[in-house]
Amino acid sequence: MEVVFQTCVNALVASGFFALTAVGLVLIFGVMGIINFAHGELFMVGAYSVWYLYSISGWPFFLAVVGALVIVAVIGLLMERGLFRPMRNNPLGGLINSIGVLFILQVVAVKVGGLGLMKHVPPAFPGVVQIIEGVVLSKQRLVALIVSAVLLLFIWLFLTRTKLGWALRATAQDREAAALQGISINRISMLAMGLGAGVAGVAGALMAPLTRVQPYMGHSVIIAAFIVTIVGGLGSLSGAILAAVLYAFFHTFVTTYFGGIIATILGLLIMLVVLIIKPTGLMGTQTTE
């Protein structure tokens, strides 16, 4: 019984970080219509930033997380400005550009940190919290969970309560109609890309002490993010969050009982089934055309 509770606690932490990466992917796709294949690498850069700022340079942990947010958001803005904007009418071109960025960021990470050496990021908050008898949660995980929940709440408030958030959602719904209402598509695209990338960076920064920091860590992240966004419905934020929680529980339980590879295989098959039966996903409204 304790194993079940422990797995639930782990799944809860995982769902926070799945949701953060998926929300970024959904924001970028919603506004620009481009699937960002480099999203996992933005996550990786976030983790590397924390490794460099916190473990090497000795910044306080939260300052390092903010640093990661800024670094990755700037990379996102540069990508939007230089690579995605000229490709606005060519979604396949945008996707291919993001694959190019993926390669470049991996090489930069290898050059900055070296290959093969494991980057150890010591936990900023050592110790554990005992929830019930036999079920523990490390403080680092608790912090990661709280920060991701707060961040998701802020994004939600921003999108539903502010004028800029309304503009962003309007652009995602209908770009031309939004432009006719005087919304600057360029500014909204930069906002979506900066926000989406920054959130991925924060996710990487929070996970850095909990996982192995290495140049190719983005691969498993992008697979999970794809599964979550497709199951939730491409272009639906609430769907992405719901799917993130569901998939995190599914993935954590299958990993605990059957192993990581089988969990990913099953996740991919579920995604295929969703694509066949209900391509709009759990909460999606966009058609497949």
Binding site: I35, L83, P86, M87, N90, P91, L92, G93, L95, I96, N97, I99, G100, V101, L102, F103, I104, Q106, V107, V108, V110, K111, L115, H219, I223, F226, I227, I230, L234, G259, I261, I262, T264, I265, L268, L269, M271, L272, L275, I276, P279, T288, E289
Partner: protein
Amino acid sequence: MINKRTSKALGLIALFAFLIVLPFTLKFHQQDFLIFLIINILVVVSYRLMTLTGEWSLIHVVLMGVGAYSSALLAKKLGLSFWLTMPLSGIICTLVAFLFSFPLFRMKQFYFLIGSFAAGEAIRLSWVYFKVPFGGPKGLRYIPSPKFTFPGLKEAIEIWEPIPYYFLTLTVVTLCLWILYRLENSRIGLTLHSIHWRDVLAESVGINIWRYKTLAFGVASFFVGIAGALLAHYLGTINPNQFAVGIMVYVLIWVIVGGTATFAGPIIGVTVLSIVNEWFRAFEIWRPLIYGCILIISIMFLPEGLESLPSKLRGVINRLLGKEEIEVNVPERMEKEEEVF
């Protein structure tokens, strides 16, 4: 005056003479490189057949792996000869593709791309997961080399040295390319083009889009399966990492940088980029970065690929000389226009 047809034939003869002499002038590792290049040419050309319908898949390299694994397993477990396992692996690939075509062709564009990625990754991870018979992460080893016999010969000749294997690969790939070329210029190929240009119009004149897409997918898979078998029996060892999505991305880069409008485009792309890759052998770590930059630059500034370079250069030179541009460059594959109803 030599007409276009004879000059084309002469060019082909010259090319083949060059390809026959070439391996004898090269060092050992360069011969190796040449074999991989020829196998990759088959991979990109078969991939192009798939893209003719307008769908870009990410499962192609995994299907190459299906070919490699099935040929290796048939040769190892059942002791079948290479001459049998190679076509069989192509057929198995077609069957796998046919099976996956049911879910995949319910999707279009992005959904197809991601769906094919998911299907491919699921297949690939199952090779990692099932140690029997796929050998797990370490893959399969000791895959037998092809043996060649004919009446009157006492002992079978084993083809494993680069030069004999080069000629084996060259023969098989040339045959495959010829079939693919004929296919594209047949009625079927024209129908595939029409689906890419105007799928709704094609459907309205009675073309069964689903059937033709499946056909293109199946044929492309057959030939990439053959390429996989050729790779497996040359290397003698295969593992799941050789067919990862990262390798698929390289195939995409070759095809895009070369251009998909003509048959020769992807061949030019893979040849040029592989040679560039050889130059950068000393900078192993930088290689993905160089590839990434080439990819971005080509999609931004040369979206029709290297094959469009000569006509573009001609345009620039004409402009510099102050000539009026008379020749209007019409791409063979028109851009798909927005459907207005």
